[in-house]
Symmetry: C2
Subunit: 285 residues, 2 copies
């Protein structure tokens, strides 16, 4: 049986591209080791074939069930950590997710991205800086999140395009501010093979509530990250393993009309304070 694994790996020896060779030989070694370790039966093998087939056939231009599978097996977060762990004081990264849309409107400091949502406002602000605390003027923040119904604009025909999406530049002192609503927990799509696997393994499909951000600036490593709501459910059991302690922030409630007026929002409202720290690009691997 060991001979078989060696034969398959040997057959890949002449793969012209050395990186593809490395990946395929490692894949075969790990795939065979897994299969041997569990003593996979014929029926289990066939169940695996059928699961992967159904996963592929669930995919279309709006749904990527294999990415969902990768997410729920922690693979997406692992690839993220391998490739985007800037280390040190830099803001930690987390999954991009399937709901990013490029080209969100560029908005001014303090503007709202809640084009159509009556929920209480959340004012998110902070500074974009380097690990030494030096502000990064002009840093670009690309922000997106669910509406207060737990859905993204692209999932919800009742929301206008780019609702709860916007791009902001940090000011000269590195500060940024935008107005939004509190994000909601939501279920990843669970009506396909991945949902079936979650149920069979006694897992829920919920993500902890979060605001997405991609923060970038010339000369720095960009970071794809979230701000998690400290009051959210599922912080300990996020379906895609995206939560990192350092990304959890309180949404602080305020009822004072004066503070509201100063920020240009109705009371009650919430404030969230979160700095983004970018590592210099020189540290990129």
């Amino acid at each position: 049986m060991e001979d078989l694994t060696a034969a398959v790996i040997g057959r890949l020896d002449t793969t012209p591209d050395p990186r593809l060779r490395e990946i395929m030989q490692a894949l075969v070694r790990h795939l065979h080791a897994f299969t041997r370790e569990v003593g996979l039966t014929d029926d289990e093998w066939l169940a695996g074939v059928k699961f992967l087939t159904a996963t592929g056939q669930m995919c279309d231009d709006k749904r990527q069930e294999f990415i969902l599978l990768s997410d729920t097996l922690g693979l997406s977060m692992l690839v993220d950590e391998i490739n985007h762990d800037a280390g040190g004081a830099a803001t930690e990264s987390t999954v991009l997710g399937p709901f990013y849309v490029a080209g969100a409107p560029l908005r001014d400091y303090g503007e709202s991205i809640a084009l159509a949502d009556d929920a209480p406002r959340a004012v998110v602000s902070g500074v974009v800086r380097d690990p030494d605390g030096k502000p990064i003027p002009g840093a670009l923040l690309d922000i997106w999140q669910t509406a207060s119904n737990g859905r993204y604009d692209v999932q919800d025909p009742d929301q206008p395009p780019f609702n709860l999406r916007g791009r902001f530049h940090a000011r000269d002192d590195g500060s940024y501010r935008f107005v939004t609503v509190r994000p909601m927990c939501y279920s990843i799509p669970d009506d396909g093979p991945v949902g079936g696997l979650l149920r069979a393994t006694d897992r829920h499909p919920w993500r902890a509530a979060h605001i997405h951000a991609i923060v970038s600036a010339d000369g720095y490593r960009p970071v794809t990250t979230h701000i998690f709501d400290a009051d959210s459910d599922y912080l300990d059991s996020d379906a895609v393993f995206g939560v990192k302690e350092s990304l959890i922030r309180p949404f602080v409630r305020h009822d004072d009309p004066a503070g509201a007026a100063r920020l240009g929002v109705p009371a009650p409202y919430f404030t969230v304070d979160h700095d983004f720290v970018l590592a210099p690009a020189a540290r990129r691997r």
Copy 2:
């Protein structure tokens, strides 16, 4: 990063079915180990997602691209060895392949399965016996193979149904005999994602020439196996790793009209001598 893997495995702890739990936890451990070992990049991860998606979308009621992928990675043969290695003197097993059709005509000793094929005849014969040499009367042999054009009946509208397929019972002395044509090498379907992967890894899609057999009898472990033609190309590089030394047999050419007449075939013809040895069912795991 190790924490992430532990978290995913921990999340599967409450899987109700203990076997599913074992398989999923091992899968996550090996999948993460592979990903970490090669340091999978974002682009490579996405290429993998796209490959798996295309593989699923290539599947329909006639084409199973994930089984083809399993075959070409040696996984199908590994699962076969895990589950069907009877050990000892029993005939070795190999892949079932995608071309088996149940319900082939039951034919008499010495009959031909070549309903429409003008190639020289091959007369295949031997004994079905147990590991001690005792004949197994009435053992059932389910036989199928390519026509001399390298195609199975189900791939070729010019062949009648069940061309080169037949079932035979061993006689009271365990002997069997059937008439066929020499099987041909053929390419596994290589117009899909798996074909692309074979080309990228400098591999050919050819299978060594073989006759398929499933041999079964009450009280014995059935065996799914091949008889390989010793003169075939690709015996050392079968695309699905199906060749085992013990299954290779010479197709011996004969030109004598008397021998041909005795077997009821035209000269020249070939003979193949191959015994099938079944392990007692008591040895089934």
